[in-house]
């Protein structure tokens, strides 16, 4: 499967520039420069604690960068440029820029006091200001797409982990984000449920236009879906096409990391 990076062109939709993140006295991310282009599927792999989740969370403003800038669709996320000076952005600005990004958590984080349908309708109605009827239609369509059209009135606790994660995906997609971050969405699932969730992700990827940042430990999946694979460990160690990384890694650390999966 030869996918070419030069297939994706134009202005990046997400641009990390010289990003560093420090928690207490621990430097988690160092000097991250990363451009993601519209429609691109980027797989992010790396050992536990290498900062993958942190990188994703920065994009949805759940973490604040210690230094550096992030641009979404040409607009600064964390800063506002006033008379050529970078000032911290206010909540209004954050919300506007963040509106283009969706994220699915490892732990689903569904709202337990709402039915499945309400979970998916909540943000369209209360964030986008959609009418209830319209929101219901879209939410139902989205839930059908992830194969849960028959569970609309169920509550999260009545569903299996795989079903809950599919609801979480529908809840994010219904907001029509331009970029989706999937943070190890299958890691909390029992093995027999991993397939159904990956199938949904593959379907979304196959539609083509969604920009996807896939944080994952599922190497076969990354290889099949991604246009580009990034191996990171606090910084970006190596990146390239799935073939480059999985067949022909240049960096010994990448090789060491991947060899564990080859044995498994």
């Amino acid at each position: 499967m030869e996918k070419q990076n030069d297939a994706v062109k134009g202005r990046p939709i997400v641009r990390y520039h010289k990003i560093a993140k420090v928690f207490g006295d621990q430097q988690v991310l160092t000097d991250i420069d990363l451009d993601i282009f519209p429609g691109e599927k980027v797989a992010l792999i790396g050992p536990s604690g290498s900062g993958k989740t942190t990188l994703g969370r920065l994009l949805v403003t759940l973490e604040r960068p210690t230094s550096g800038t992030i641009e979404v669709n040409g607009e600064l996320l964390w800063h506002k440029s006033v008379n050529g000076q970078l000032l911290p952005a206010d909540e209004k600005h954050l919300r506007r820029v963040r509106g283009q990004i969706g994220l699915v958590f490892q732990q689903f984080n569904l709202f337990p006091h709402m039915s499945i349908l309400q979970n998916v309708m909540e943000a369209p109605v209360h964030v986008l200001g959609m009418s209830k009827g319209e929101a219901k239609e879209q939410a139902t369509a989205m839930l059908n797409k992830v194969g849960l059209g028959h569970k609309l009135e169920s509550y999260p606790r009545q569903l299996s982990g795989g079903q809950q994660q599919r609801v979480a995906i529908a809840r994010a997609l219904v907001m029509r984000p331009k970029v989706m971050v999937f943070d190890e969405v299958t890691s909390a699932l029992d093995p027999e449920m991993v397939g159904e969730v990956l199938a949904v992700l593959k379907e979304i990827a196959a539609e083509g236009n969604m920009t996807m940042l896939l944080i994952t430990h599922e190497m076969a999946f990354a290889r099949e879906v991604a246009d580009r694979v990034i191996f990171m460990d606090g910084k970006i160690v190596e990146q390239g096409s799935p073939n480059d990384i999985f067949v022909n890694p240049q960096n010994p650390r990448t090789n060491a990391f991947l060899s564990r999966f080859r044995q498994a």
Partner: protein, 215 residues
């Protein structure tokens, strides 16, 4: 009516006052619990300090001292409240302080993942608080609020010491005039039990329902 039940009508008049007081003070305490509880979680520092000071003050000074203060001191400051108003006010403020802690800890007990999910869906802070956190936290608050209501009902007996004619006051009056000490105080205890115990059973029932619902 045969003794000892001939004193029941007089006691029941007191029961009415006790219930009235419990209900009004509970409503006041409920509102204060949320106002002060939210105040304590505010990002606005002066508000936060004010709310914390309120809670510490009303929890740290004794309820009876607070009642005496309103009853004996306020009139000197030319604030004249009826005994009933004083009782409602102080019980409401006092149990509101305890309630604010219930509200705060219940809200904080909701997993951060819920707030984060709200942020990622681009909800406003206020929407996350009211639509996501509060409905879940409220389920945690209900049993504790129920227990506080029982404590409030019991605490209303203190207002008899500032001459409000509640059940306890009627009891002491009857005892004073009839000298039928055993019957009077025995009946008073039993009536309080009949008022409070159904609440206890109710709280336990709700508690069971909520745990079953979660499982």
């Amino acid at each position: 009516m045969q003794p000892p039940f001939d004193i029941l009508p007089a006691l029941l008049r007191g029961v009415w006052v006790t219930l009235e007081l419990t209900f009004a003070a509970a409503c006041l305490a409920f509102v204060i619990s949320f106002v002060v509880g939210f105040g304590r979680m505010s990002k606005h520092l002066p508000l936060k300090i004010l709310a914390a000071a309120y809670t510490e003050f009303f929890r740290g000074t004794s309820l009876l001292v607070q009642l005496f203060w309103v009853y004996f001191v306020l009139p000197l400051l030319h604030v004249n409240l009826t005994a009933l108003q004083s009782g409602i006010l102080i019980l409401g403020l006092h149990f509101g302080a305890y309630g604010s802690e219930v509200v705060r800890s219940a809200m904080m007990a909701i997993a951060v993942g819920q707030t984060e999910a709200g942020i990622v869906l681009n909800m406003k802070r206020s929407q996350i608080r009211w639509r996501i956190i509060l409905p879940q936290a409220f389920m945690i608050m209900i049993p504790t609020f129920g227990n506080n209501l029982i404590e409030l009902l019991k605490a209303t007996a203190l207002v008899s010491l500032i001459t409000l004619k509640d059940l306890m006051f009627q009891g002491t009056m009857i005892q004073n005039t009839t000298m039928r000490t055993t019957e009077t105080f025995g009946l008073v205890l039993m009536i309080y039990f009949c008022l409070a115990y159904p609440l206890t059973l109710g709280v336990r029932w709700i508690e069971r329902r909520i745990t079953v619902g979660r499982a």
